[in-house]
């Protein structure tokens, strides 16, 4: 019936109370090395995508005659491939393709999924039932199979592959968004907002959406990593960008032919993909922890 000790006044000096500046300083004091490295990885990949020319002087497309299958050296940091192309240059230039793809994929999933989840959670009743059964169906199909079918329908190409990957993640976004919306919807401040005469859309915009987005954004960061992985998988299978595009999955696929003679051709892009996915995962965890 009564709530016991809930009224202790929060001290005036509490950091969260006094704005972002103090909060950031407090966060800096408790630096997490793993998180810093994750952000560093993301920053480097972003820089590769934005200004690849700064990182390498070699062309990612044109090979140099007589320079085929060179092992890593001072001249070619990660060696060269079967056509004499610098592998490091191809990975740097490939960042743009993988990142664009991942951004498109996550955007598709985020927008579509959140919208569906929002409608289902906020409206309830039959729209909820219909949408969520649809989502269940989507989840039941193996994601790679679903992506492949969509690519077959849409045709090949970087953007189409990205959309295919995005559609697969719609179900996960929709589920999470719905559960968050349902949680927020039951809170007293939402009822109070309806009680003070708020219309459905106004309450949705002012209270439900902002309060349910934190976890959804954390999932977006996580999906960013998975999308890079999924894009590489599809690229590896030959459903992505056609050669000679320096896409990471394609690099791994091409390197496979020389696995016995030049293992670094598969290992290097593979490691890059793994590191990118792990970084996205670490950042996602950090976002998920910052609840208001």
């Amino acid at each position: 019936m009564t709530i016991g000790d809930t009224t202790a006044p929060i001290l005036a000096g509490e950091p969260r109370a006094t704005g972002r500046g103090v909060a950031w300083r407090a966060r800096l004091r408790h630096l997490q090395p793993g998180l810093v490295m994750a952000w560093l990885v993301v920053a480097i990949i972003l820089a590769w995508a934005a200004v690849p020319g700064l990182f390498t002087g070699y062309s990612p497309i044109d090979g140099v005659a007589g320079q085929q299958l060179r092992p890593p050296s001072a001249e070619h940091w990660l060696g060269t491939d079967g056509l004499g192309r610098d592998l490091y240059a191809r990975i740097v230039h490939g960042a743009r393709h993988s990142l664009t793809g991942a951004v498109v994929a996550v955007t598709v999933g985020l927008l579509l999924g959140t919208l569906l989840g929002l409608i289902a959670g906020a409206r309830g009743g039959w729209p909820d039932a219909v949408i969520m059964r649809l989502v269940d169906t989507l989840l039941a199909i193996p994601s790679l199979l679903l992506s492949l079918s969509i690519i077959v329908l849409l045709g090949f190409g970087t953007i189409n592959v990205a959309i295919a990957v995005g559609v697969v993640s719609v179900a996960r976004f929709a589920r999470l968004a719905r559960s968050e919306v349902v949680r927020v919807r039951r809170s007293e401040y939402v009822e109070a907002a309806f009680g003070s005469g708020g219309s459905f859309l106004a309450v949705l915009r002012r209270h439900i959406l902002p309060n349910s987005l934190t976890s959804v954004i954390a999932l977006a960061a996580l999906q960013f990593g998975s999308a890079i992985l999924a894009l590489s998988t599809l690229g590896f299978l030959g459903y992505g960008a056609p050669p000679p595009t320096p896409e990471w999955g394609l690099l791994i696929a091409e390197g496979r032919n020389y696995l016995s003679r030049a293992w670094w051709l598969t290992a290097a892009p593979g490691v890059v993909v793994v590191v990118a996915v792990l970084a996205a995962d670490r950042i996602s965890t950090a976002i998920g922890r910052t609840e208001p």
């Binding site: 016991g4 006044p9 401040y189 907002a193």
Partner: protein, 549 residues
């Protein structure tokens, strides 16, 4: 309940105790050198509001401080031996056998996957009480002693099969299982209804007397402390404000804080006397209100939460709905506020028949009636600033210009006594009382005619509660508001309301002007409820306590 003070060493002696918690990089001291003692067979009450350090003190006595807590200085002497430097292992031998604890929340203090018999047997096994048969016999004996009969049946039940009061009885059985010398009772009845509270406190009293146990009673409720303790220790902000025999502290308080606490505590004696217009001018009319909740899927089986409740509230007065948990009082209030459609009955608020209203008409009607919630921590959006929260209702109806809105928000802040510097703050930076002021400001910004207060002050400390009640009274006088006040606290209701409905099991068992209901209750239930109010021993200047039972 007289003290059997022995001339020797006290059972428990707290000597200049200081406790600090590590928060972030800083150490924050919450208990500042307090000293008191508990003699054998004595009940000492630690009274204070939230943040006063009373629970921290109790935890220190048990060696159960939270991980970041530390006894900075001072001694806790149990039968003359200082237990502060003791290891946890050494304390284990003492806890349960010499000192035991009755925790605050019976709902979360029992293991949900073990029977209560097994949990009661556990403490006996830990302290090697005897072989299995001896333990089993003792378990049944204890359950019988705390009134859980038939004991052999109860022993096989799980916590979810018991009510809150019964769970508290199990915890009491665990606490007294080894006949300890001292029981620390940390708010043992705060989570329980008032009639259950009385039975539980009576039980602790009886067991205490039987075994000659001392009790350190930690409570925020001065009434409970006055009824049950021999001596009082009043804490505030980690320091002792006052200590002494109950009678002395209550009749001649030395510190201004204790005087304030006594004045703010609602008690049966302080009834409100205000001339009420006798004109037939009703702001709320409820007739034959009935509401059924569907139970577990089946359409045919329904649970009747409210059953044929009728009352009328005159404009500008306060009507209270009193009852224990499950009495249907909140359902009634929510129906009046338009949050649920009743199964049957008529509700007229300010001339509008509420039960037939549909979406848009209902939205328009909301300006006339507003609800203030019990929990000021859940009813404010954590992402909005105070200004945004108070302003929001103004955005929902015809457009109000920005300067006009800003002016109204500032007006409201001023009206509820909040400084302007709070405008940009978030709810997290405010105390419970301040948040409740924000909630009231939000409710009033639309100039409603009726305010439904659903346990609106129950979660607050008594001094804060008194401030909020004074604010509500002032607003009622100034704006001619009508209040529907839902509460479980009869003393409070008597103090602030003009008319009252007593609810029990969905039915209205008593209704009428407050004085009449309190002095000549129609039902046995109301009588029981009035008798159960703690604080009978509290001195009330210039009035006598009504007792009809």
């Amino acid at each position: 309940m007289s003290a059997t003070t022995s001339p020797g060493t006290p059972l428990l002696e707290i000597d200049n105790l200081a406790v600090a918690y590590t928060v972030g990089d800083a150490e924050q001291r919450v208990v500042h050198g307090i000293s008191f003692h508990v003699d054998p067979g004595e009940v000492v009450a630690l009274v204070g509001e939230s943040g006063s350090g009373k629970t921290t003190t109790a935890q220190a006595v048990l060696g159960l401080l939270a991980g970041n807590g530390r006894v900075e200085s001072g001694a806790i002497r149990l039968k003359g031996a200082d237990i502060v430097p003791w290891s946890q292992r050494r304390l284990d031998a003492v806890r349960g056998a010499v000192i035991s604890l009755i925790p605050q929340d019976p709902g979360s203090s029992l293991n949900p996957v073990r029977t209560i018999g097994a949990q009661l047997a556990e403490i006996l096994q830990i302290h090697r009480f005897g072989d299995r048969r001896a333990i089993q016999a003792r378990v049944l004996d204890l359950l019988t002693r705390v009134g859980l009969t038939p004991a052999d049946l109860r022993a096989g039940q799980y916590p979810h099969e018991l009510s809150g009061g019964m769970k508290q009885r199990v915890l009491i059985a665990i606490a007294v299982a080894l006949r300890p010398d001292l029981i620390v009772a940390d708010e043992p009845t705060s989570a329980l209804d008032v009639t259950v509270q009385r039975r539980i406190l009576d039980l602790i009293d009886a067991l205490r007397r039987e075994n000659g146990t001392s009790v350190l009673l930690v409570t925020h409720d001065l009434g409970v402390a006055a009824d049950r303790a021999d001596r009082l220790v009043v804490l505030r902000g980690g320091g002792i404000q006052e200590r002494g025999p109950v009678r002395d502290v209550l009749t001649a308080p030395q510190s201004p804080y204790t005087r304030q606490l006594l004045a703010d505590a609602p008690s049966l004696g302080t009834a409100r006397r205000r001339a009420v217009a006798t004109a037939e001018d009703f702001a709320i009319t409820v007739e034959g209100l009935t509401h059924d909740y569907p139970t577990s899927g089946t359409r045919s089986r329904r649970f009747r939460a409210v059953d044929g409740v009728s009352f009328k509230v005159q404009r500008g007065t306060t009507h209270a709905i009193v009852g224990e948990s499950g009495s249907g009082k909140t359902t009634t209030a929510r129906a009046v506020a338009g949050f649920l459609k009743p199964t049957a009955g008529r509700i007229v608020v300010e001339g509008t028949e509420l039960t037939t209203l549909r979406s848009e008409a209902l939205r328009q009607f909301r300006r006339k009636i507003q609800l203030v919630y019990q929990n000021p921590f859940g009813s404010l959006d954590p992402r909005q600033s105070i200004a945004e929260i108070i302003e929001e209702p103004l955005l929902n109806f015809e457009p109000v210009s920005r300067p006009e809105r800003t002016r109204k928000v500032r007006d409201m802040m001023d009206r509820v006594g909040l400084p302007e510097s709070f405008l940009t703050r978030r709810p997290q930076a405010l105390s419970g009382g301040q948040r409740q002021r924000v909630a009231i400001a939000r409710a009033l910004v639309l100039d409603p005619r009726v305010l439904v207060l659903d346990e609106a002050v129950s979660a607050l400390d008594v001094t804060v509660q008194a401030q909020i009640l004074a604010l509500l009274d002032e607003l009622q006088q100034a704006l001619g508001l009508t209040y529907l006040f839902v509460s479980h606290d009869l003393a409070l209701v008597r103090q602030i309301s003009d008319t009252v409905s007593v609810m029990h099991g969905g039915k209205q068992v008593d209704a009428g002007p407050v004085e009449k209901v309190f002095q000549q209750p129609d039902s046995d239930y109301t009588r029981e409820l009035i008798d159960a109010i703690p604080g009978r021993k509290m001195p009330v200047p210039g009035s006598h306590t009504a007792r009809a039972g």
